[in-house]
């Protein structure tokens, strides 16, 4: 009883951002959230619109939009190579946001920007947040910004609809997980492996327990990501969490022009709504 009361009370006083609302809507409908990742500018700047609209049409919950960077330390070979191709196409945070402003009216699906910190610092944090709001960005994932350093961005988002998504890893001890869960907005990004993004054949046995524990602690949805690349993994890991994020497999499929591979990855429960 008490726990239930606390949870209700806790939720009430928390600022709920639109990204969280969109994901919870999916969960309340008995479905799993599915968030694909694309590398903005891979295939040219014009491919951004095409890829977003394709995924939106497939009924994905939200889309993670990767910003290419020269030194992507959290990424594996597939996304590194996609990033290099995007850099060669002249993609950077500024031109990507300007490109997206061109077709913002066509976008209904929540968009999450995944960028390393330095391009955001170079853009200017306040200017960047303002531009995100203008384009209608729902969330930010900054892989090299742990919760201890996040104040520089978090403080600029207090009154903003933009959510700062926080990552939790398998190595995070319980007290850290609690600290991160308190600060988290939108959803919690549960990193499912020790490592970088990319294809994995196996996941640790403790993953089920880890995700279960996270869901117990968190008041907001818990989505699993890193290394999820097959329809079986989407189903299996999706069952342990509120949904999944798929990166490298989507990036690879778009690069190879294999859109049917993307459709195969979408969880069976996803229907257009």
């Amino acid at each position: 009883m008490l726990k239930q009361f606390e949870q209700q009370w806790g939720q009430k006083i928390m600022t709920t951002k639109p990204l969280q609302v969109a994901i919870e809507k999916k969960i309340k409908a008995g479905q799993k959230a599915f968030i694909p990742y694309i590398m903005a500018g891979d295939g040219g700047l014009k491919a951004i619109r095409k890829q977003i609209l394709f995924l939106q049409n497939e009924g994905v919950t939200a889309i993670e939009l990767g910003i290419p960077f020269t030194d992507p330390v959290a990424d594996g070979p597939v996304i590194q190579e996609a990033g290099s191709r995007a850099l060669k196409e002249g993609a950077n945070l500024k031109v990507i946001l300007n490109e997206m402003a061109q077709f913002k009216e066509d976008i209904q699906v929540p968009l999450i920007i995944m960028s390393y910190l330095n391009p955001i610092l170079a853009y200017g944090i306040e200017k960047f947040v303002a531009k995100c709001e203008e384009v209608g960005i729902a969330g930010l994932i900054i892989p090299d910004l742990p919760v201890e350093e996040s104040e520089m961005i978090r403080s600029k988002l207090i009154t903003s609809p933009v959510a700062l998504v926080q990552l939790v890893s398998l190595t995070s001890p319980q007290n850290r997980i609690e600290k991160i869960a308190k600060a988290a907005e939108g959803f919690i990004y549960a990193v499912t492996v020790n490592g970088i993004t990319g294809v994995r054949n196996e996941f640790g046995k403790s993953l089920d327990e880890h995700l279960h524990n996270l869901k117990e602690i968190s008041n907001i949805p818990v989505l699993a990501g890193f290394g999820i690349s097959t329809p079986e993994q989407v189903e299996k890991i999706g069952a342990m969490a509120d949904g999944v994020i798929v990166g490298s497999a989507i990036v690879k499929a778009f690069h190879e022009g294999n859109e049917s591979a993307i459709k195969a990855l979408l969880p069976k429960v996803v229907v257009n709504d």
Binding site: D71, V73, Q80, N118, L121, A122, L167, P173, V191, I196
Partner: protein, 402 residues
């Protein structure tokens, strides 16, 4: 008054430093910080470190009065701190040894490291052989080519050397790959970062293991001259030999400190490694620091004839020392460094590492303007054997026209 130089908040040097890393590494960094704090309070750790520094590395190394160089320059009395005489030929072993002992305390039996010139890689492979630790070294493709002999040395010592093709194939790219490897193997692996860079607590740990350079210098100059030097000069890539040398003198206002970065082909050509020449702040490899980058925040490749200075950033404590004006930073071109190398080789019979040659060139200029009763110390961070091929290629045209 010299301003308070201790870290103002954990891992911060003024606004520089911090821990900008993926969440997966945060626990490892916290563990490392705890293990390091415990080690520093444990007398047996210091005893063990001292034992190996003395009987294995060969410390203390000399503070040598370079009499012929002094006469040739005709200014201040020049001393050389002979880090080149350490086992493995550079200052890098001081830190590699300390961190390997830390890894043993943490129960980690695997080591990963990056290397540029190969000196840190050789030092790491050496201590891994000494303590029976598994060792993987990441090295940029371009550096593997430039430093083939050091690659072979590491392999002889039992290390696995992985050539990194990504990016420009230099030190920055090797750090990226080492970090990726560490994220993937964090539970049983310690990352021996080689410079005063990266996320907290690395800049502090590396500085503390390198401050033996400055501590010995201070003691030796007091013994020889009965007073502190007027000036100290050290080369700065990431900045480990310089911070180790400077740290014990930072509160001695009478001692002028000079850091020398690599100007490569010249600052105006854009092909250099001098972060202080552009003063652009940013985040790379876990730390907020001055960093070579373009307007989009993309990191630029550094350029220098010396692989060890070929890094686009500069350690966070140096950034702070720059901003408060305690250390004066400047840069020296490839050609000037070659002049420095020739100068020391011919006046003293010591072939310095190309990295150290940057410090020698600038020190000669500074010493010239000083009085004969003043003292200048150069940190001779490493010996030049590893660079002989590079130097021969660079000087070949002028010396062997036939």
């Amino acid at each position: 008054m010299v301003k308070e130089l201790s870290e103002q908040k954990a891992g911060r040097y003024g606004k520089f430093g911090g821990q900008f890393v993926p969440e997966t590494l945060m626990t490892a960094l916290n563990e490392l910080e705890t293990a390091y704090d415990e080690a520093t309070k444990d007398p047996s750790f210091h005893e063990e470190l001292q034992y190996y520094l003395k009987d294995y590395v060969g410390r203390e190394n000399p503070l040598y009065y370079a009499e012929r160089l002094t006469k040739k320059i005709g200014g201040a009395k020049i001393y050389l701190k002979r880090e080149d005489l350490n086992h493995t030929g550079a200052h890098k072993i001081n830190n590699a040894l300390g961190q390997a002992l830390l890894a043993l305390r943490m129960g980690k039996k695997k080591i990963v490291a990056e290397t540029g010139a190969g000196q840190h890689g050789v030092a790491t492979a050496t201590v891994c052989a000494l303590f029976d630790l598994e060792c993987v070294i990441f090295m940029g493709k371009e550096d593997v080519r430039r430093q083939a002999l050091n690659v072979f040395r590491m392999e002889l010592l039992g290390a696995t050397v992985v050539s990194v093709d990504q990016g420009g194939g230099t030190l920055k790219d090797a750090v990226n790959e080492a970090l990726r490897y560490w994220v993937t193997n964090v539970e049983d692996t310690h990352y021996i970062l080689g410079s005063a860079l990266g996320p907290h607590p690395f800049p502090r740990i590396v500085r503390d293991f390198q401050r033996v350079i400055g501590d010995e210098t201070r003691k030796q100059i007091l013994e020889k001259e009965g007073r502190l030097p007027n000036a100290i000069v050290a080369c700065v890539g990431g900045g480990s030999n310089a911070i180790g040398m400077f740290h014990p003198f930072v509160n001695d206002e009478s001692v002028k400190l000079y850091g020398v970065e690599a100007a490569g082909s010249g600052i105006q050509t854009g092909l250099h490694a001098a972060a202080f020449a552009e003063l652009k702040e940013g985040v790379l490899h876990g730390a907020y620091m001055y960093l070579l980058q373009d307007d989009n925040g993309f990191i630029q490749e550094a350029h220098s004839i010396s692989a060890g200075l070929d890094y686009p950033g500069v350690g966070p404590e140096h950034c702070y020392l720059h901003d408060i004006g305690r250390v004066k930073y400047s840069s020296v071109t490839d050609d000037e460094a070659l002049e420095g190398l020739k100068l020391l080789s011919r006046t003293e019979g010591i072939i310095p590492a190309l990295e150290s040659a940057h410090a020698i060139y600038r020190a000669a200029e500074i010493a010239k303007e000083m009085k004969p009763d003043e003292i200048l110390v150069i940190c001779l961070s490493g010996r030049g054997d590893k660079d002989v091929e590079t130097v021969r290629a660079a000087m070949g045209a002028e010396n062997h026209d036939n």
